[in-house]
Amino acid sequence: MRLSVLLLLATGLAVRPAAAFTHEKGVIRLGAEEVAAGTELEVRGEKLPKRTEFTLVLRGALETHTLGKVTTDTLGAFVARVLVPAAAQPGAYVVRALAPDGDESARAELRVLAAAAAVAATEDHGGAHGHGEGAEAGHATSVEATAEPLDLPVRHGPLGWAVILGVSAGCLVSGLALLRQARGAPEHATRTG
């Protein structure tokens, strides 16, 4: 009896967070997992607050693009076709639906491919991707390999320099103190046996 109660409690605890998450957060479904930059993407939203305007954004590690605004219907759903900016660099992104207060209400992962890569991927998979026609519409671009390094802006800033100089000074002072201690250490007598 006690065991069954414990099991019920455990099951309940295990299930509750997932259920709560589903009701509090909406869901975004994308027409494709991969899409070429400069092509259209279908975005469907569900389980969102009713008659609310959301901003769809494409967020990557280096760049964020606004895809447009959508408004949910009386069931809390929407369907939209958005244009993935041609300027978006290939990589892993997240499509986010932002509520009017800026909070994220739903998200979905998306891979943005270079137009040329998308065409190749479509050919490889026989056009089986969700929106193969979008990929085919992408402009084929040739990317040239180069051994030249990227010209990246590396700025440490005042706080960064303070940390760097602080760590350097700390290591230097500690090192010198240890060496001074080692040189001033008393001689050790030894006995063997």
């Binding site: 990557g60 590690a61 280096l62 660099q89 290939p90 990589g91 892993a92 891979r111 491919l113 990317v143 040239e144 390999a145 180069t146 051994a147 030249e148 390094p149 990227l150 990246l152 802006p153 590396v154 440490h156 960064g160 320099w161 940390v163 760097i164 760590v167 350097s168 000074a169 700390g170 290591c171 230097l172 500690s174 090192g175 010198l176 103190a177 240890l178 060496l179 201690q181 080692a182 250490a185 008393p186 001689e187 050790h188 007598a189 030894t190 006995r191 063997t192 046996g193």
Partner: protein, 352 residues
């Protein structure tokens, strides 16, 4: 083996103010609870000279690599499509990202130099003769692991140089057949090769490295440091000097990392070779230019075979002259190939 017990005079008498004594008391409290007294064992006094600290410097460099690596890994994305962007993010936007990455790079360079110098010194000192054969072999394994960590680290950049390094690894795997299965993209279709190499760089190889270092230290502790017998010293003093020099070195590295950030190439384009590898692999590049793709397998195999065989080839009272000559020839050839790699013409190796 001779067993030595250390008897110390009281070094605390007349150390100064009450505050300093309190610090010493607290240090003593911590030393007791951490059993640091175990470090006060006897070693040859000559082991306190710099050449005998090269292994210790290598270890300190590995500690710096581990600390900076943990930070970098918080920012790295092993997805092949996102990896390069995450490195660019680390360099350009993450707090202290560029500096930590540069520190990781320069610490790796220092480790590579110090581990080779340590190997040459140990060979010169004949510290591989009985009963230290396993100590030597564990050191050789450490060299291999450091090489593997360097290679995987290069690939993780996902820039043109990293992409070409990965392509070479795949080509080598194909040449090796079943032996190279782990480096084949087909080994695990559910994940990318880059993700598996990232996994090796941050978990598998460091675990193996940690275990091998523990074995290496255990053997050194119990078989002793092979240094000329010129009086005795205490190992704790050796550690103190090592940390002293090491921390001064880290201070220098911090500044070098801030002033000389390592380059990052453009996102890799597959199927072409326009770069040369990271400088420690340039000797292999020279071999590839000379004998083709097999160079990257034959070269390391010959070097590794020689290093493994050393304790078996030198079992007498003195090292055979031919072994010294062979080792010197190998070292000169390796350094020559490395130097030539810098000026060698850029060549396409894969698919030739």
């Amino acid at each position: 083996m001779e067993r030595t017990e250390v008897v110390e005079p009281d070094g605390r008498a007349g150390t100064g103010t009450a505050g300093a004594e309190r610090i010493l008391d607290r240090a003593g409290w911590a030393a007791t609870r951490l059993a640091l007294g175990a470090l006060r064992y006897s070693i040859p006094a000559s082991a306190n000279r710099l050449p005998y600290m090269l292994g210790g410097f290598t270890f300190l460099g590995l500690v710096v690599l581990a600390l900076t690596g943990v930070w970098l890994d918080q920012l790295y994305n092993p997805d092949p499509l996102a990896a390069h962007a995450s490195v660019v993010y680390t360099v350009t936007r993450a707090p202290l990202g560029a500096w930590v990455r540069a520190l990781h790079y320069w610490a790796a360079c220092v480790v590579l130099v110090s581990v080779v110098l340590h190997l040459v010194h140990v060979f010169w000192r004949r510290s591989y003769v009985a009963p230290r054969e396993v100590t030597w072999w564990s050191g050789v394994l450490l060299l291999v692991l450091v090489g593997a960590l360097t290679f995987t680290g290069t690939v993780l950049r996902a820039d043109q140089e990293g992409g070409e390094a990965l392509a070479h690894a795949v080509a080598a795997a194909e040449l090796l057949g079943p032996l190279g299965a782990l480096l084949s993209p087909d080994f695990s279709p559910s994940t990318s090769l880059l993700a598996r190499i990232h996994n090796a760089h941050v978990s598998l190889l460091p675990l193996l490295l940690g275990g091998t270092i523990a074995l290496h230290f255990w053997l050194i502790r119990h078989l002793g440091i092979n240094a000329p017998a010129s009086g005795r010293a205490v190992f704790a003093e050796h550690v103190r000097r090592l940390l002293g020099y090491g921390l001064i070195g880290v201070a220098g590295l911090c500044l070098v990392a801030a002033l000389l950030p390592p380059a990052l190439g453009h996102r890799a384009v597959e199927g072409v070779e326009v770069t040369k590898p990271f400088w420690p692999f340039l000797w292999i590049y020279t071999l590839e230019n000379t004998i083709g793709l097999w160079g990257m397998i034959v070269g390391p195999a010959v070097l590794l075979g020689f290093l493994i065989a050393v304790p078996l080839l030198d079992r007498g009272a003195e090292r055979p002259a031919w072994l010294t000559a062979l080792a010197a020839a190998l070292l000169v050839a390796l350094l020559g190939a490395l130097a030539y790699g810098f000026v060698a013409p850029q060549m396409q190796h894969i698919g030739m």
